[in-house]
Amino acid sequence: MKNKYSIFSLIKNAFSQHENWKQAWGDPEPKKEYEAIIIGGGGHGLATAYYLAKKHNMRNIAVLEKGWIGGGNTGRNTTIIRSNYLWDASAGLYDHALKIWENLSQELNYNIMFSQRGVMNLAHNLQDVRDLKRRTHANRLNGIDAVWLSTDQVKEFCPIINTSPDIRYPVLGGTLQRRAGTARHDAVAWGYARGANEMGVDIIQNCEVKGIKRNGDQVEGVETSKGFIKTKKIGVVAAGHSSVIANMAGLKLPLESKPLQALVSEPVKPIIDTVVMSNAVHAYVSQSDKGELVIGAGTDAYVSYTQRGSHDVVEGTLKAILELYPIFSRMKMLRQWGGIVDICPDASPIISKTNIKGLYFNCGWGHWRF
C-alpha cells in the first residue's frame, strides 16, 4: 500500500501539522469505457468494487455516485452490525459478513472503529418471547452465538432499562449476540473507497445515472450527468433508488422505498455500553464514542423519497424510549434525519442477475443493510 496508515506515518505527518496527507482516493473524470460499472457509491457499492478488484482481479471498474462518498444511507444508518437472523440463508449471509467485519480494519488499513459490544433484542409480549426464543435456537444450530436472557438478566446486562412489569410494553426477556456491535459507518465507505482506488478502481462522485442503454437484452452502457459511459456489465447497488434505476431498464422490482429515521442526542458520559433493539416498539439505542445517544426509529408506512420522514414516527419512538429508559427524560436531541430504505415483502435482500444480460442487482436490504 503506497500510503499506509500507521503510528509512524502519524508521527511523520505531525511534524508538518498534518497538512501533507495524501488524498485517500482520486477524483478522476470518467473514461469512455469500463469492464464493469457499479451504480451507487455506498458501503455495498464500494465493497462490490473492492472485492471484484481483489478477489476477481477486475481492475477496470468505475463506481458512480450521485452525491458524495458517505453522504447516502451509509452515513445515515444507526451503525448496528449483527447476524442473529432466523432463516438459514440469512444467517449464512450475515454471519459471513460479520466475520469479514472482525478483520476489516486490518484488511483495509483503515480504522472502522468496529466494536463488538453486543446487541440485545428485547421481547415485549408473549409472541415476541416465542419468536425470539425460536430465533435463538435457530441461530445456535447455525453456529451463531445467540443466547436468551430472562428479564433479570436483561436488567443485569443493561441496568438502565426499566424492567418494571407495569409499564405499557414490559420487558419479558431478550436475546443477546455478543459478537454483534457497531462500527463507524462512514469510515467503512471511506476505507473501501481507498482500498478499491488503490487497486485501480475509479470512484466518480457527483455523477448521476440518467439512463441505461440496451441493445436487445444486453446492456451497452449508462447515460450519466458526466456523459455516456460504455460497459457490458452494470452492478446496481442503489439502495432506496434501486427501483428508479430498474425503471430506466424497463424492469420492476418487488421493492417499496420508505424513509427510515434516526436521531442523535447531545453527547453525555458513557451510560449504555451495548446496543438495545426493541422491534415491537421501534426503539433502537446505542451510544457513539463521542457520547451521543444514537436512536433508530421506524419507517413511514408509505412510499416516499424525501429524506426526512414524519414527526409522529419519531414521537412514537421517543415515547417508547422514555418508558424503557426513564433516565433519558431530560436528554436533548441534536439532529434528526431520514434515509430511504428499499424494503422487500419478505424483508430479505436480493442479490441477483436479471433477464437483461450484464445487469445485476444488489438491493432490498431494507432496514438491515449495514
Binding site: 433508488h241 427501483s243 428508479v244 420492476k252 422490482l253 421493492l255 417499496e256 408506512a301 424525501t306 414524519s310
Partner: protein
C-alpha cells in the same frame, strides 16, 4: 407528514390514514389459472416511482373508507384525491 383531503371527511392529518400502496393494479380474473410468476407480478412487483404516483389510501382512524390519491413521492405533494371507481385524473 402531511395533510390529506379525505373525499368524505375533509382535511385531516396523515397519521389518521394508512397507505394501501400502488393503485390500479387489477386483481386477476382467474386466480386459479395463474403461474407462480404471474402471481408474483400481481402480489409483489411494484413501480415504486420517484415522482408522481397513483396510490390507494384508507382513512383508518376516520370514516374507514378507501380512496385514491395522486402524490409526488419526491416531495410528498398531493396533486389530486379521487374516489374509488372514479377515473384517475390525466396529468
Amino acid at each position: 407528514m402531511f395533510l390529506i383531503n379525505c373525499p368524505y371527511c375533509g382535511e385531516r392529518d396523515q397519521s389518521e390514514f394508512s397507505c394501501g400502496g400502488e393503485a390500479h393494479i387489477v386483481r386477476p380474473k382467474q386466480p386459479t389459472e395463474l403461474s407462480d410468476d404471474q402471481w408474483a407480478e400481481y402480489l409483489f412487483m411494484r413501480k415504486n416511482i420517484k415522482g408522481v404516483q397513483f396510490e390507494r389510501w384508507n382513512h383508518a382512524h376516520g370514516c374507514r373508507k378507501w380512496f385514491n390519491m395522486v402524490r409526488d413521492t419526491s416531495n410528498d405533494k398531493i396533486h389530486a384525491v379521487y374516489k374509488m371507481g372514479e377515473k384517475p385524473p390525466v396529468e
